[in-house]
């Protein structure tokens, strides 16, 4: 919670026009917007929590669950789309059992979708914790996910 205080201190007398920058800063600091945080911001700016949630859900950039240990970002830009990123996304949604913006219940994976990563030459491109995977197919990505799961499982066993 102290991280939020630091953010809010940067915005004395905040009004509704400061809402989005505040939310961005908080997400930067905490990784996501929790219910408690939204309530605190609501109190601070004097806006209803439902309103803030409405604004925040309007934009793709805000998350409402903490990031997973592995954050999977699927590029849905034009080039990746042409190269079949929809199929990749469908597979990963099914494999992880979560929608974009969500985090798996074990906290291992979170899923995000971006409009373009600027790596069109590698299309379809997927980034996991910032590491780019080029020319991804559903099969290839499902292998990567299985690999991560195995690794985590053996860690847990040891």
């Amino acid at each position: 919670m102290s991280q939020i205080k630091t953010v809010l201190e940067k915005y004395p007398n905040a009004k509704r026009e400061n809402l989005i920058p505040i939310l961005q800063d908080i997400q930067e600091a905490c990784g996501y917007l929790s219910r408690e945080v939204v309530n605190e911001v609501a109190q601070y700016i004097g806006l209803p929590a439902a309103k803030i949630y409405g604004v925040a859900t309007f934009y793709n950039q805000f998350r409402f669950q903490p990031l997973g240990k592995y954050h999977v970002m699927i590029c849905r830009g034009t080039a990746c789309h042409v190269k079949g990123s929809q199929k990749v996304l469908d597979m990963v949604v099914k494999a992880l059992g979560i929608q974009p913006g969500q985090t798996s219940r074990d906290g291992l994976f979170s899923l995000g979708v971006v409009a373009c990563m600027g790596a069109c030459g590698l299309a379809p491109v997927v980034s996991i914790n910032g590491e780019f995977h080029a020319k991804v197919t559903p099969k290839k990505l499902s292998g990567i996910i299985a690999e991560i799961r195995d690794k985590e499982l053996s860690h847990a066993k040891n």
């Binding site: 309530n39 209803p48 929590a49 439902a50 309103k51 949630y53 409405g54 934009y59």
Partner: protein, 573 residues
């Protein structure tokens, strides 16, 4: 003032009027779904589109102001076609359960589909799936039936100052929901039901308890009693096609008896009782330097509003329970004792203009040993439904009177049903309490009428009393903020959650306009004008109750049965 042309007719208009307003005055009906009288237009639904000469596109009449020489066509083939397409698109993503939808027959979308001659749906068969929110004891939200007109969102924010709901998400995935899409029951929703009144479809309805009441009535082991709120008798007839403003008190009582209720009590009786308790409390606070201004506590939406938004002002709220809960407490104590009945055998039903009363009767403060004082609350609409189900013709009933010992009322208790009524009744009795004389005026015009914020300064004996009456919690919010900022010339505030008071409560008949609400208001004033007993302290049954059971206002028994304390409420919003 200038002229414009509508459908080849010359029409005189005022500067700043919208096309829709002009058309309405000229008797041209333009269909709308998202338009809300008195609020800024949102232009969300596009139903009101018209053709304006010189414009390539179609223009929404609700938000476009008239300009000199403008030529408007309201029903060209192009306009009608577009409107039909809009309805068709809405219906294409709407459940096909009209036959057993609670709104069947009163749904604006259904009506438009008929009016626009929608005969088939030529769009895709896939429909958005979303779970209904049944978490609230008062209101059920079914997002699948929502057409995203946004009226509920605007009423909640602009009229009630609550904003429990808003649009969530964007584009075709948008829906109306609470913060973090959690249940209404943990949100800031105050259960007022104003959103139900404005909803054009069945997306917002009351949580109905008609089945539970019917089951209780059929149970030979239960002793089922009913109370009816002051405003119900002047609105119920509308459910059966009668023009607004007709009082059917006697026939309603007869019909309730026909349904099988063992006793029919009048909540106006406990409204009179409230006046004696609350009036004494006010006098006590003034004389002993208690917390002022005192604020009324009859309206359960308002109570929750204070608990969650103004917890530091809870002490300003009167400790009196609402008339419904006072009646409930008396039924399961005094009445039960008198009749030799086990309180748990009694099923206490109340007919209210209100959805928040459903929440109120389930509050933990409103029960003794886990037996709730009031078991079920039905809205005016649900009562009409009960009558329909049992085949009872309200109009054919021979008027009857309510039962002793809680059937007698004065017209002071009856006017509780309108904004300003509690205040007027309170002033009449406080005047008597303080001076020993009856209040000389027939009415207090300054606090009558439908205005959202009314004030009056009165001299009662030596005392200069400032009284304020607000309805619609947006207005209450403004007044509370003034008081927080240091305003101190007001001693007593009446707050009604719904704009206009209970006559336009969230449980009242649907599809009503301001004219209907005015007619209901006049009906209550008419009753007050004609009544022989117009002051609460002259209610003989109330006085007898004090003599036989309660002792005196604010006494030990009263304290136990008729008063309560509220505390700060953490909402999970």
């Amino acid at each position: 003032m200038f002229n414009i042309e509508i459908d080849n007719r010359n029409v005189q208009v005022n500067d700043g009027e919208t096309i829709l307003a002009v058309c309405k005055r000229e008797g041209i009906r333009i269909p709308t779904l998202c338009f809300l009288e008195g609020l800024a237009p949102s232009g969300a639904c596009r139903m009101c589109i018209v053709e304006v000469e010189g414009f390539p596109g179609l223009i929404p009449a609700c938000s476009y102001p008239v300009t000199p020489g403008m030529k408007v066509k309201t029903s060209t083939p192009r306009v009608l076609d577009a409107r039909r397409t809009i309805v068709e698109l809405l219906v294409s993503n709407h459940p096909d359960d009209c036959l057993y939808c609670l709104r069947n027959g009163q749904c604006e979308l259904q009506k438009l589909a008929r009016d626009m001659d929608v005969k088939r749906i030529s769009y895709g068969k896939s429909k958005t799936k979303r779970n209904a929110d049944v978490s609230s004891p008062s209101i059920v939200r079914d997002p699948e039936k929502c057409i995203l007109c946004g009226k509920c969102v605007r009423v909640c924010e602009e009229i009630q100052g609550v904003s429990a709901i808003d649009f969530v998400g964007r584009g075709c995935k948008a829906f109306v929901g609470t913060a973090f899409d959690s249940g209404l029951n943990v949100s800031t929703c105050i259960n007022c039901g104003q959103c139900i009144l404005v909803c054009p479809t069945g997306a917002l309805t009351e949580r109905t308890y008609v089945d539970e009441v019917a089951a209780a009535l059929a149970d030979p082991d239960k002793f089922v009693v009913v109370q009816h709120a002051p405003s119900v008798s002047v609105t119920l007839a509308e459910e059966f096609g009668v023009k607004a403003g007709k009082d059917v008190d006697g026939q309603m009582v007869a019909a309730l008896r026909r349904l099988g209720f063992k006793r029919v009590f009048d909540t106006s009786f406990t409204a009179d009782l409230t006046i004696l308790e609350e009036g004494s409390e006010l006098v006590h606070r003034i004389k002993t330097g208690g917390k002022l201004p005192m604020m009324t506590s009859c309206s359960p939406g308002w109570i929750k509003f204070v608990e969650q938004f103004y917890p530091d002002m809870i002490e300003n709220v009167s400790t009196c329970k609402s008339p419904q809960q006072m009646m409930g407490a008396l039924i399961k104590s005094f009445f039960a004792q008198r009749e030799g009945l086990e309180p748990s055998k009694i099923v206490s039903v109340s007919i209210m203009p209100c959805t928040a009363k459903k929440f109120e009767c389930q509050r933990p403060e409103m029960a003794v040993d886990y037996v709730p004082d009031v078991d079920y609350v039905l809205t005016t609409r649900e009562l009409a439904q009960l009558f329909r189900r049992y085949g009872i013709e309200l109009g054919a009933m021979t008027p009857d009177t309510a039962d002793t010992p809680f059937g007698e009322r004065t017209s002071a208790g009856k006017i509780f049903g309108a904004t300003g009524g509690v205040m007027e009744a309170a002033i009449r009795s406080a005047y008597f309490l303080l001076t020993g004389q009856e209040y000389p005026e027939e009415k207090i015009p300054a606090i009558r009428g439908l205005k959202g914020h009314k004030e009056v300064k009165l001299k009662i004996g030596e005392l200069e009393v400032g009284a304020a009456v607000v309805s619609g919690l947006g207005n209450a919010r403004k007044l509370l903020d003034e008081i927080k900022a240091g305003r101190n010339d007001i001693h007593f505030i009446e707050v009604m959650t719904c704009p206009g008071g209970c006559i336009s409560g969230g449980g009242q008949p649907l599809n009503t306009d301001t004219e209907a609400v005015k007619a209901r208001l006049q009906a209550l004033y008419q009753i007050d004008r004609d009544d022989r007993t117009r002051v609460s302290h002259r209610n003989e049954s109330v006085n007898r109750l004090y003599k036989e059971f309660l002792g005196q206002p604010l006494g030990e028994k009263s304290h136990h049965l008729l008063h309560t304390h509220y505390k700060k409420r953490e909402v999970k919003a």
